[in-house]
């Protein structure tokens, strides 16, 4: 029971928070739960991984990495929420705090899932828990965004469930027991019925690809990220996408073990590079800061899908990139959230001179932009370089060329928007607004950015072990 506490604690606290009458205490309880969750996770991860047992609910190496990542990111978001909600006292925060905690619990459940059915249940639960967060502002725009998010994600995930059932049927036809446990599918992979496996893979790719926001299933992303509060964007772009990527990686492993690796990899590389291209094109001339971040997320998910399709050698790079992207996106969304608060707008028609108006948040925004576009010395530079090395090692120079070109396109597009927002003189309305950088709204993005910088310069041994164990576990049988 102790080992399941990262799932149960946030869910129990969500109920507690929901029935807490005091508006001021709810964010504090949220932060306290996040601290406890992080402490529990660190304690769990500092013990060596237990023996590999069967069962549909346990923590394996990739799950450990995901749990650690989600817990750290959520801790920063929870602390930030305390500061953020202080500026939004006019808004009821009961649902906001409770839904954030449910999201944490269900994301932890994704990390524990060893079964395609359970994985689907937990992914769908993360979607449902985050939908009310997007319409926190109760504007027509945010309601439209929520509708699109919920509709597209639900239909996409329905395809993922269909695909999961196809996998189960492939196992049934293979003469084995119909099982959706990862371990059973991997052991019996050779015998899986190929037509059902291929169809199932395609459906699951569409389904979890919708959650990742891979093009052409990305259309909900700019709307949802654009209208949600920055802290929700951080949870979505850092946490939920990482959960969906792990699902995709596990699926790819099964396809590889079944001898359909080439088919799976071709699809992944195609959809990955396609997403990078679409995102790069839409980043050019983007005037809305949060929509810009959404397209940047589409681009990063493209990189991840591409890396997953490169075969066994890129496993470490893909896992490392997942971690770096989640942390950098967290920092970026929180910093841009501060800018949004101070200017009361998120388009560069109004946002000018953010560096003057908010020296700390503005600098964080600038540095996080460099980090997220893969500039040295940040962690994403290292992981993107590893991925590029793997592309060239496979002799795929054309793919490598497109990869670099799309990275540059994204850099140029994001750069011009970001610099326009940061430079110049802030408008009068922004100078008079009541937002000031405080510890709670600045320290979390600073910490996240610091970690991304650290990972770029030097990857500490325990972290390296976590990442490489996760990559190794996902490569068995490929």
């Amino acid at each position: 029971m102790v080992s399941l506490s990262p799932i149960l604690l946030p869910l129990v606290m969500a109920v507690v928070v929901f029935f807490t009458p005091s508006k001021r205490w709810r964010p504090r309880l949220l932060a306290a739960t996040a601290v406890a969750h992080f402490a529990l996770t660190v304690a769990l991860l500092s013990q060596p991984a237990g023996p590999v047992t069967s069962g549909w609910l346990r923590l394996d190496a990739p799950g450990r990495l995901l749990l650690g990542l989600v817990s750290l990111l959520f801790l920063c978001c929870a602390v930030y929420s305390v500061g953020y909600l202080r500026y939004r006292v006019e808004r009821a925060n009961r649902r906001f705090c409770a839904c954030l905690l449910v999201a944490l619990g269900t994301m932890s459940l994704v990390a524990y899932s060893q079964h395609f059915g359970l994985l689907w249940v937990s992914m769908e639960a993360t979607t449902l828990a985050t939908a009310p967060l997007i319409y926190f502002n109760r504007t027509p725009r945010s309601i439209e965004a929520t509708w699109k998010y919920l509709m597209l994600s639900s239909v996409g995930l329905a395809m993922a469930l269909f695909g999961s059932f196809f996998l189960g049927y492939a196992a049934l036809l293979g003469g084995g027991e119909a099982s959706l446990l990862f371990s059973d599918l991997l052991v019996g992979a050779e015998a899986l019925s190929k037509p059902w496996l291929r169809a199932g893979f395609a459906l699951l790719l569409v389904g979890y690809g919708t959650k990742l926001g891979l093009a052409p299933m990305h259309t909900w992303k700019p709307d949802a990220y654009g209208e949600a509060p920055g802290v929700v964007g951080a949870v979505l772009a850092g946490g939920l996408t990482s959960c969906a990527f792990l699902a995709l990686a596990r699926l790819t492993q099964v396809a590889g073990a079944a001898g359909e690796g080439d088919y799976a990899n071709r699809l992944l590389v195609l959809i990955g590079i396609g997403s990078m291209g679409v995102a790069g094109a839409l980043l050019l001339g983007q005037r809305d800061l949060k929509r810009m971040l959404a397209y940047s997320s589409v681009e990063q998910m493209g990189i991840l899908a591409l890396a997953a399709g490169l075969g066994a050698g890129a496993g470490f790079a893909a896992m490392l990139h997942m971690v770096n992207n989640a942390l950098a996106k967290g920092a970026l969304f929180l910093a841009v959230g501060n800018v949004h608060r101070a200017f009361g707008s998120k388009t560069i028609d109004t946002v000018r001179g953010a560096l003057t108006r908010l020296p700390v948040s503005g600098t964080l925004f600038l540095l996080a932009f460099f980090a997220v576009t893969g500039s040295p010395p940040f962690g994403l530079f290292a992981s993107e370089l590893l991925i590029l090395k793997e592309i060239f090692a496979g002799g795929r120079y054309v793919l490598g060329g497109f990869f670099l070109a799309f990275l540059f396109l994204a850099f140029a597009g994001m750069g011009s928007t970001t610099l326009t927002a940061l430079q110049g003189r802030p408008p009068r309305s922004a100078r008079d607004s009541n937002y000031r950088d405080r510890f709670a709204t600045v320290a979390p993005p600073l910490l996240l950015l610091g970690i991304v910088l650290l990972f770029g310069l030097w990857l500490p041994d325990p972290i390296r072990a976590l990442v490489s164990d996760a990559a190794a576990a996902l490569e068995v049988g490929r």
Binding site: W56, H115, G117, L118, W120, V121, E124, A125, L128, A131, P132, Y135, R138, T139, P140, R141, I143, E144, A145, T146, W147, K148, L150, M151, S154, V155, A158, L161, F162, F165, F166, G168, Y169, A171, L172, L173, E177, A178, S179, L180, S193, P195, W196, A199, P222, D223, G226, E227, L282
Partner: protein, 213 residues
Amino acid sequence: MHSTLSSLVAILLLINLVALGSSRIGTVVRAVALQGVVLGALALAAHGELSYRVLALALGSAALKGWAIPVVLFRALRQVAIKREVEPSLGLLPSLLLGAAATVLAIVASSALPLAETELAPLLVPASFATVAAGFILLTTRRKAINQVLGFILLENGIFVFGLLLVEAMPFLVEAGVLLDLFVGIFVFSIIIHHINREFASLDTRRLSLLKE
């Protein structure tokens, strides 16, 4: 046994066409509710010997899809007090024909795929494909938000039919989790429908066009 199954599958497919061809939202909600009950019966009929698991699954899904979800949807309909016509963007007759064509296609497609040597699969696989297709048609050709939710439920029903082939692969708690997710999902949908109606004074999803590049 076999005849019970095939009649249930026939009813299931007929309900798809009723849902596609009705002009009033209330009728579609009732059709989808009836389909939920049929699904419960199908779950019982598909499994020769009765276990507590199958019984719980069948009763649970029938209660959820036949009663709880329709209650939520009718409540949403009352709250928003909209006109009860479906307002399709594709006419009712064309979408009905499309649904019939999809059913035929589903039968052809599933005969091209390898199936297990049981009497279940040749019935359930095409029924599942046809219902998923009908759900997609309903989802994409209707303008009102509530109709899209109904299309989504039809889609899920089709997937559920396929899941009947694999009851052994799904632990009971996972199966219950799928149903719970569906219910919570519909509940959240109905809340947002309420908000859409308040903010946009309409349930027409074409009005949801503030956000674009």
